[in-house]
Subunit: 364 residues, 4 copies
């Protein structure tokens, strides 16, 4: 079924209480990187700020826990540590217009089911049915491939298995991956698989431990570090398959963000996490659909950076879709518990998710 | 790749210490259902008993934690509670022939990997690669369908999802399910899905809660109980799809074992657990491959009942394959911790396992 | 802090729509064990039935998924399979009085927090704080010990560990356990620990595997079965410590419900699950606080049987408290997903829960 | 029981094959940060290098996945990225002396249990008994407090709960915490608790969500960032309780390592992960016991940095103890699967672990 964007329901600013709301107030930054008291912080929802009477400005490029700065070009969302002395920061925490700010939580609201006094199965779990999620992805991703930006967030488990690594490569080659956020481990183990057919020393197909296999990831790291970059290794022809190879072939953008677990690391890894966030944000700001698989660290990090919506050229507002695939209810709920309320959880193994998705997506 | 049975390596009874081993001793049952002191208990492995000098008898229809009774027809494995006064029970616990009993743990041993002083990834986890397990099943199941008996053990999660319920029906229709062990819940929710397209009141495709959906499973139970049996409902034509319908169409054997969680229960449910074990054992004794999905209770119960091997007509010994599919390492390890050492774990969601397996199996 | 019962807020039957509600209708049972169409099923909440104009009768001894029968003594809640031909069963599913039935979901409602447009941490998880739950139990249990009935539901993990087994014995001896629901495994491994200091062959303190330890639970079973009952073993003096011994010393009621996993089983195990439910119900109907620890099967079964409230002698209505202690969010949520909405989850290891609780409870 | 160090069993270099082993070979670094081909990488075990005939040098300050450099002062273990042009790096991967290197895996070997042909409970799980681990910690930590260095690795869950946060503070005040590795979140939520009695906006005792509580962690961050450092906030007297306060009072070393999830971050957070590893390594090199609680990221990172042993002044070799406390088997096994073979897993909630440990430790 062809995918169509849901219709955005803007708030009605012509009616009370929004009609009678005051203007939003601002206060200047007194110290680099520090917000003035009573600053307003952003959520994942569309937020409107009444700048002049009747002119409610919708934030663009919003995300969780940012602050709002008045600039000549309009309102900007910034991280606290980017605030500069003198910048004007929006104040107050009322969310219903009482201080000139409206947080619009019902923008794409689905019809709610009738309230039940008593019902089973109110929580997401491994026993929730996920058929419809797959089917929605089969409709959504071909649309996004042409009209949006599909960003993946991957833990290393995606390349620990033969079939799932192949499925991921196919998804890249077919255009269903338009950007990637990951860490050192995903890339190292993908390169290890290309060089040695192992991940952490275990064969990714036969799962036999290989003699002295614990050297493989180190040898892969040393090889790439000697070459100077992943790209240089690819150009040398040493590596001819896998996820990093497919990304290189299609010249797709990716960010490898550093973590304290990292060996090596690979030359492309951004070891400063604040710089890594900047690089990730450059992709999350473009993303219209995000699929986060088997990485609690990267999923939560991405959840912090992903807006709930985008404003398209003709002022059309569309939602950003955020899928989280994990084995544990705890991990999926953690995103919700961290404020990424709109994340859709699919509880399964990364391997199977990738295999099913790849097979189910249209080949057009 | 066509599947071939692994070759059985019998023990060498012509060499010491087995050559010089004594005969196994027996003692009579003094009280109904009670074994004599120092009884021998069976494991999942092939076990040999030296009855007369040089005549080592291999147990048939063995399983975990049984006792061995000498009967005119040979050696029988029995549960403790089936022991009758006067029956002769094999004694002693030595496993290396020192008391006339040999437990043969290396019968189908795969070549072991070289011992490593240091290695990663020694434990099964969700990050283990499972491609080869799927591929082995694609080879194994067509063989078993013709030459063995494929027994499934299913938790209700298998029918909570649209795609997986359909995949399971297809597996039944295509001959890849030859018997089923489950509980009341699997059958009730499958029937609920056929009648109302819900499971526990939630739509199995759209996952919307339905108004007063908490009545659905009760209504399904009441309907079947009124008809007198699942078969009667099927014959009436009220139910036209689903797992129970497919089993009925193909006249496949199944056991619905009772549990204290049961509502209703359905007329076919065996509410006495010892009787249920008898009925389950009738199927596990025929099983050559067992696939246990998403049920800790039923998987462990089946693990207790499943032999590790079968003796085929021409005294050929073959292994019994036992797959356990679950979301949690704890559940998969629990089988190993309960003695089902040969169980192969696949860590994923039941839904995806069924969908992938159904698609991957040959259509011949 | 001394515990006091929360005040019950009865519905106001003097106001519309309840004032104008019709009488509840009944229909006779036509077939043994089958409800008439459109029967009403009970929930965990207090439910009122208008029998004669203005006379709203509150159900007693209610529980989930029962049917309501009009009897000379008043309204009875019954399981479907207990229905007898000719009994009058309450009809209709409206819950707001529109058909003479009122389901009272706000009887002990706590003040709800202000609705937030955006909030973190809306789901129970291992990261939820549990200090207050322990403190509430320290207040509640001394009260219940004198004024209520504290029923425990235990999985075998409670006796797999030295400290937790001792803590449980102490809780029994100090009066904080007034009844127990469990299975064969809890009792067998407790007896194994008393006889051999192991559980499933592993030492419960040193956790060393013992040579041929896999015989221990079988030897324990055989010993008790030979004696004829757990009580007979206790009287013989063979066993001098542990949970079953402490229950026997204090002559506390317990139910060991059968399951298809059972070895043996012990003589006291009720192998028919419907009979086991009857025996369990005899205790759940008395329970004012239930603590279910480390058993998904038994916790869900208990959840099905436990009323949400009790009517005390002077028509005072009090809540029944239901705590569920488990390691996994899935297990805790499963109770909620099965309708046991009021269950309070504590996510931790059974061992530590028991140790902390025992130490924290007043010694008065 | 007073703790005593286990006796180290050195290899016997006077016997073949070690007696006849060649000298270890070295090759120079040709490019900054890149090891020569066939470099030797270290494990967590004691490793000996034969430098001159009969002189087997034991590595000091070893850890997983380092390379060995010959320096005037002896052999140094380095990370790959610290290698400088011209440094001499030890070569070859044989672990049994055949190339002049001996990896000593049995240095503190406990007596192994008799091999069983068949045994239950071979895997660590939540059902493993942990009493002895607590008791060993009660003996070990008072010893280490006086004679070693107790390093903690903590996830934020440790401060999400009232009792566990207090227990942790008490452990610090009583000397059982001598250094800490954590991330931004632990510190932020501890400070949030001190300022607002919440963590992520939920009360840490009553677990009520607080109105606009999602601002609390941001307000805590902004406050500390304005002050310039955690220390400055402590000196100002604004914060008077909690973990960071107790660390400050006792002037204990800690490292807050950055991650891509971080908001703020706090001024003390080291945002470059390679620099953070350096700072962490300064503490892990001193650690004699490490207790890692409720943080997969930090536990694995610490596992990479922690040696398996220390060489004490009089050439005495002692083990380093490494405990991992987590709710999931997957997390505990992951350390083992990543090579931290000696990690002892305790499966429980961080909250309960801290409460029990604090109460059980001697007050001397």
């Amino acid at each position: 079924m062809a995918f169509t964007l849901p219709v955005y329901q803007p708030p009605d600013f012509g009616k009370p209480p929004l009609k009678d709301a005051p203007l939003v107030r601002f206060a200047p930054v007194a110290k680099q990187g520090i917000a003035p008291d009573n600053y307003h912080a952003t959520t994942i929802f569309p937020e409107y700020f009444q700048i002049t009477k009747g002119d409610w400005v919708l934030l663009r490029n919003s995300r969780m826990d940012g602050v709002v700065v008045r600039a000549p070009a309009g309102l900007l969302v910034k991280e606290f540590h980017h605030l500069k002395v003198g910048e004007q920061v929006a104040l107050n925490r009322g969310e219903n217009g009482e201080e000139g700010i409206y947080v619009h939580t019902e923008a794409f609201a689905r019809p709610r089911p009738v309230a039940e006094k008593f019902a089973f199965r109110t929580h997401l779990s491994r026993e929730t049915s996920f058929s419809i999620d797959y089917d929605e992805l089969y409709d959504l991703l071909p649309y996004e491939k042409e009209n949006g930006f599909i960003l993946w967030v991957l833990g290393p488990a995606a390349v620990f298995d033969w079939d799932s690594r192949n499925a991921l490569v196919s998804l890249i080659q077919r255009g269903y991956v338009q950007g990637l956020l990951a860490g050192n481990a995903l890339a190292v183990h993908d390169l290890e698989a290309a060089l040695f057919q192992t991940a952490l020393g275990q064969e990714i197909y036969c799962k036999r431990p290989v003699h002295l296999g614990h050297y493989h990831h180190l040898d892969a790291l040393n090889l790439v570090r000697r070459a100077g970059s992943i790209a240089a290794v690819m150009e040398s022809g040493t590596i001819r398959d896998g996820v990093m190879h497919a990304l290189w072939q299609r010249q797709l953008p990716y960010v490898l963000a550093g973590s304290i677990r990292d060996d090596g690391p690979l030359p492309e890894v951004i070891s400063d996490v604040m710089q890594a966030q900047e690089a990730m944000r450059a992709l999350t700001m473009r993303a219209t659909t995000v699929i986060a698989v088997a990485s609690q660290l990267h999923s939560i990090a991405a959840g912090n950076l992903i807006p709930g919506y985008h404003v398209l050229p003709a002022e059309q507002v569309r939602p950003v879709y955020f899928y989280v695939v994990d084995m544990s209810e705890f991990a999926a709920d953690k995103l919700t518990n961290r404020g990424s309320l709109a994340a859709r959880g699919i509880l399964t193994n990364a391997q199977d998710f990738l295999v099913i998705l790849e097979r189910g997506l249209s080949r057009s």
